[in-house]
Symmetry: C2
Subunit: 204 residues, 2 copies
């Protein structure tokens, strides 16, 4: 829709980086438009307000991420041979790929901020637009973990979500070593996350 070098795209990328670094309140439109190399009034012209810009920053990444997740889930959901690990991979790998491409890692930090903000407007937006994704994954987890009560399953999914958000947003201390490629490192990270989540979900 938008050319990659267009004013809208330049604003979105600069906003993503500044929101990750300074937060939604902390990043001013003057810093933001200066970093993007556009006029101050361009944000209100193209997006209407700062709040709607925040929404678009989320939409640009989450639409793609959740489409990838649902596509991966569709390949395994409901099938007899499917393992818990398959479902976890469908959930984790798309997020991990996003966090390793371009400014994706910055967006993950924006997402972690949004979780911490507890802002009702933003939470409602996320729930309305992407809540069905989490619901589909939860249903598949329930199918593969029939021995868990609903309460127990919710507890475990909640804790796994916390661990993943924490890890994806780059809080962690783990850095790629010089002697492994980017792709190898991503694969190692995916293995760590999946095995950890597997243990947390299915322990006796």
């Amino acid at each position: 829709m938008n050319a990659p070098g267009s004013t809208k795209e330049r604003i979105l990328s600069a906003a993503e980086a500044l929101f990750a670094q300074r937060g939604f309140d902390g990043a001013s439109l003057r810093q933001l438009t200066a970093a993007a190399g556009v006029n101050l009034a361009a944000v209100n012209y193209h997006f209407g307000s700062k709040e709607k810009l925040v929404e678009q920053v989320f939409r640009r990444r989450l639409d793609a991420l959740n489409a990838d997740r649902l596509a991966a889930l569709a390949n395994v959901a409901g099938k007899p041979g499917t393992t818990l690990e398959d479902v976890l991979a469908a959930y984790i790998r798309p997020a991990l790929e996003l966090s390793h491409e371009g400014n994706g890692a910055l967006f993950m930090r924006v997402l972690a901020r949004a979780f911490a903000e507890h802002d009702d407007t933003l939470r409602q937006f996320l729930s309305e637009n992407y809540g069905h994704v989490m619901r589909q994954f939860t249903a598949e987890f329930a199918r593969l973990l029939p021995q868990l009560s609903k309460e127990e399953l919710y507890w475990r999914i909640d804790l796994v979500t916390g661990a993943l958000t924490h890890a994806m947003s780059g809080f962690g201390m783990i850095q790629r070593k010089r002697d492994v490629t980017e792709q190898e490192h991503r694969e190692q990270t995916a293995q760590h996350l999946i095995r950890f989540a597997l243990a947390g979900l299915s322990h006796p």
Copy 2:
């Protein structure tokens, strides 16, 4: 040191609640002092600046929390009969008790925000003042999990930390049911967290 109804204490409590709700930037000194029922200038008079007020909000809770954690760890560290569960309990239970007393739950949300902020000044303050606590626990984990490489252990501790921060700050959907007491609910929560962390740390 400070009387419980003193101006300083009133400011600290109001700051804790407002920082949890609106963030460090989002909560203004005018909202804050109005909620505390004190004059606007009282913050700068008693604390010097808004930033130093933030520091004191952390100090008031973390000094007590980490003292409790270290005391609990001292009871089990290095002893032959000690299990991984004992060490996890020493780490988790003091935080859980704090999050269930008075405004402690609000402080946990403040803490989760601080994690998400990535603010270097604040991170350095936390590392300098409370880093030794995490180091002592890590050493004890290493003793009880000798089969794990240092890298593997760091990975798992990091993910467990993410899950706990997430849970403690009240992101979770789990609410206490009407037919269980507050104390029973805390005990159930502790059991969930400890068993989850146990599985995440010690899985094969």
